[in-house]
């Protein structure tokens, strides 16, 4: 990656950080505009030492320079332009930012990017096959009409992938995923449009297909 001065993306980020910090300072105290303009960069930029980081996202390695405070969510969206992962509440309450880290679902808004050096990260962009064929859960979401506005969908999908993996890890003896078990396990993903019934149905379909495959039945469960 090019250095900070030459990279328009980083220049834009610095400007925005400057503006945010200046705004925060203005909100906290009444200061003359001249003093504010002079004081703000020292607070914003001097403290903003960037660190080098390599993230492995959807099978590709990316070298970036970020401040330690940048969340995984913001690094994905604003540095890697992987905007499929959504920012909803940004406080770990809505699940729109759910991604998979080493196969486990987490809230990327509450996780610092710098803590994910050498982790394997999967976002919604990485669920489909390289040839574009959709992940079974993506197909099931389409078949069941499991979304309306679609904003929560990337988080729902990643969360559901995590749920099915957690269920697989319990082994063949685990109880089948009931609707109430799916609802409980998906409670960290809010859907403001209220597509919960269809989301549950889509997950149930894929779980049933998995169970069929695991049992060697190979039944036609769509």
């Amino acid at each position: 990656m090019s250095n900070d001065e030459e990279d328009p993306k980083n220049a834009a980020l610095s400007r925005r950080l400057f503006l945010q910090t200046a705004g925060a300072a203005a909100g906290g105290a009444v200061m003359p505009p001249m003093l504010l303009a002079a004081a703000a960069p020292a607070v914003a930029i001097a403290d903003a030492a960037s660190v080098s980081l390599t993230l492995e996202v959807n099978g590709s390695r990316h070298d970036l320079r970020i401040e330690p405070r940048v969340t995984l969510l913001d690094a994905l969206r604003e540095q890697l332009q992987l905007t499929g992962t959504k920012k909803g509440c940004d406080r770990g309450q809505c699940g729109a930012c759910t991604v998979l880290v080493n196969g486990r679902r987490i809230n990327s808004c509450l996780s610092l990017a710098i803590m994910h050096q050498s982790d394997r990260i999967t976002t919604v962009e990485g669920l489909a096959q390289p040839d574009g064929s959709l992940h079974p859960l993506q197909q099931a979401f389409l078949a069941q009409d499991a979304f309306q506005c679609g904003y929560c969908t990337p988080g729902q999908l990643c969360s559901a992938v995590g749920l099915l993996e957690e269920h697989r890890r319990l082994g063949p003896g685990a109880a089948a995923l009931t609707d109430s078990a799916i609802a409980e396990s998906m409670s960290g993903n809010l859907c403001r449009c209220g597509a919960y019934t269809q989301i549950r149905a889509a997950i149930r379909d894929v779980a049933a297909a998995d169970a069929g495959t695991a049992a060697g039945a190979g039944g036609d469960v769509s």
Binding site: D47, P68, R91, R105, L110, L112, M115, G162, S187, G188
Partner: protein, 331 residues
């Protein structure tokens, strides 16, 4: 969100050295700390990442039959670990009732012990009064919207509630917290780990500056067959407890041999019910007036304007949880 520098600790001694810097805070799951930093409630200058210290992640049986849980074990790994599922179902139930699947994957045992209150007046730095966040500034909750607040153990300065489910189960199970500092290792019974607010509500726990939680030890469990965590909240899932009850019973037929009971959601720390336990011990459940014991447990309750429902909710929850744990009632 204030900026901070970041360092990654390779081992426990390294972590303790790094934590000696002014303004340093340990970070692991980050589910609470990062949120608090975003809200301006926590303003660390240095984050010491301890997640790569593999020695802190293990869950293993101890020589005398208890279980040692590394501080970095995630809430989900712990809840589903065979030793916990079979030996300590109370802890498993409590963990799985907390937060969401994503947060449980991130959150660690050590972080859960240090989870800060969800009092609105503490969590939102826009409120001027909070003695926990800003000592001496007053309490916004006492004369404010205090529906989720403490009815037991509060003080004039603070009525914030400890939000953890895990800690309520740990209290009933007599867990011990292992702490490391540059001076060495020491152990604190869970009952001594969290503090009541008194005049120093800014201190949630008795963990000293620069000290690191390294493990939680569970004594051999007598309650594997008869345990129940009952959590009552505004939604069926993904909400903090208004009232919760952790009950473990050792039964000989219908006689109680030993009992561990604690309440959550009603006090600044997990509220152990020693008198209730003593009254159960040695008696057949049919002979015991559970409602009277529950009433005695809440006798000191001091409800405020919006949490008047809590003592009655807690009394009923206690009776039901004990009956479910004993197998007298369906969960």
């Amino acid at each position: 969100m204030n900026n901070f520098s970041y360092v990654r600790a390779a081992d426990i001694d390294g972590a303790l050295r790094l934590a000696a810097q002014p303004g340093a805070a340990f970070v692991a799951g980050g589910t609470n700390l990062v949120d608090l930093i975003k809200g301006g409630v926590a303003q660390p200058r240095v984050l010491v990442d301890i997640t790569r210290i593999t020695a802190l992640g293990q869950i293993q049986e101890m020589a005398h039959g208890g279980v040692r849980i590394g501080a970095l074990a995630s809430n989900s790994d712990l809840a589903l670990h065979p030793l916990i599922v079979s030996g300590y179902p109370l802890l498993s139930q409590a963990l799985l009732s907390g937060a969401s699947a994503q947060l449980r994957n991130m959150a660690t045992v050590g972080g859960n012990l240090l989870q800060r209150t969800r009092c609105y007046y503490f969590y939102d730095a826009g409120f001027e009064r909070c003695n926990k966040r800003q000592p001496g500034s007053g309490c916004g909750a006492r004369d404010g919207y205090n529906r989720i607040h403490a009815v037991l153990g509060g003080s004039e300065q603070c009525i914030a509630v400890n939000p953890s489910d895990m800690c309520v189960a740990l209290a009933a199970l007599d867990a011990v917290v292992e702490v490391r500092s540059v001076r060495g290792t020491h152990r604190m019974p869970i009952a001594d780990f969290h503090r009541l607010p008194g005049d120093t509500p800014q201190r949630d726990t008795n963990l000293g500056a620069g000290e690191l939680i390294t493990a939680v030890e569970l004594p051999p469990n007598r309650y594997a067959q008869h345990a129940h965590y009952l959590k009552l909240r505004d939604r069926a899932s993904y909400a903090f407890a208004l009232v919760s009850v952790a009950v473990g019973l050792e039964m000989d037929g219908d006689r109680v041999v030993a009992a561990g009971l604690a309440l959550g959601g009603v006090a600044p720390k997990p509220w152990r019910l020693v008198d209730f336990e003593t009254a159960l011990r040695g008696h057949r459940l049919a002979e015991v007036d559970l409602a009277a014991l529950a009433a005695a447990a809440l006798a000191g309750a001091k409800p405020l304007e919006y949490n008047r429902f809590k003592p009655e909710l807690a009394r009923r929850a206690l009776v039901r949880a004990v009956r479910v744990a004993a197998g007298l009632e369906e969960a």
